[in-house]
Symmetry: C2
């Protein structure tokens, strides 16, 4: 028996609950029943907000993707030498990951067969390719090392940045300040551990 509370959800607050459940159980492993229980409202109340769980997934990963692609249109990502733009994008990607942690976590975990999952994976690949192109440009300008294959360098760079979703916790909850984390990412990615 589900204890239903009054449905006072906004689109955003319902999405926040759904994303938590998706990250906890996996998208495939989440049913409307799980969402209903987590939100404390009936399934029909949820259907009043959205057509189904795929719409919630679409909005959640869409929010993460909007954050990431938004970076590429910012002045720091558009103007100047490629290395400066890549540094900017690296820092801002770390920022967006931390600001939109549950949404980007979901985006990075999506592997699947629904239209929305394929779309999310495709858009994510597109973002990686845009950053990879920037990295190639910086190599061509002589500012980045040429002895690591650019696709490999891009993967390792994203490996480092994306690992944030595994361990980052906001400062208030025993974590490190986001600025300090973003600084560390940029320092290590561009200059490495060595003095």
């Amino acid at each position: 028996m589900t204890m239903s509370k009054r449905d006072t959800y906004t689109p955003d607050s319902l999405l926040a609950v759904a994303v938590e459940v998706f990250n906890e159980r996996g998208y495939d492993g989440t049913s409307m029943e799980h969402l209903s229980r987590a939100a404390g409202i009936s399934k029909s109340s949820i259907y009043h907000h959205v057509k189904g769980k795929e719409e919630l997934l679409h909005r959640a990963v869409g929010r993460a993707l909007d954050g990431l692609f938004g970076i590429l249109g910012e002045p720091g990502a558009v103007d100047g030498r490629a290395i400066r733009r890549l540094e900017y994008v690296t820092r801002r990607t770390a920022d967006v990951l931390m600001d939109e942690l549950p949404y980007v976590t979901l985006l990075l975990r999506v592997r699947g067969n629904t239209t929305t999952e394929r779309w999310a994976m495709e858009r994510r690949r597109e973002f990686d390719q845009r950053v990879s192109a920037l990295l190639r440009a910086a190599v061509a300008e002589g500012d980045l090392r040429a002895d690591v294959e650019p696709r490999l360098a891009t993967r390792l760079l994203f490996g480092m940045i994306n690992s944030l979703v595994e361990w980052y916790r906001p400062e208030g909850r025993g974590g490190v300040a986001g600025d300090q984390v973003a600084d560390a990412v940029v320092r290590l990615a561009f200059d490495g551990l060595r003095t």
Copy 2:
């Protein structure tokens, strides 16, 4: 109805099948029925080899952990300045990840509540702490930058290395040579992208 073939499995070959299923469905989502279907032998044949799925998990993550902890006893990890030892451990960790890809993938994905899962997470944390201690020693010797908090640096270093399990494919299957990947990891981790 399960089409059973003759049970010609060795402990290692049965483990390889189980690990593939665990990585595909998640450990929690895997039943003995799934293992039986994937192996093409009956459940009672599997019980002839192991007590249950937790024993398979234990052996699989044990294999990954043996590979990782083995590194720490190798001469390159024991002798010399801390920075050289850390470089050595970084390269060898990348090697072990690539050589034992499905086993380390499983280890890195384990989150859970069984005794074996808790043990695996504990041992993994212990490995991270051993590497973190090495990193601190190299900072103390003045060879690594002191402006990134060592625990944060360790997390980002492992973020980069561990990302291999997400994208690395062996050379024969359209991937890059393992040596080239390990070189890239060491170069980027210690000297960064910049020329």
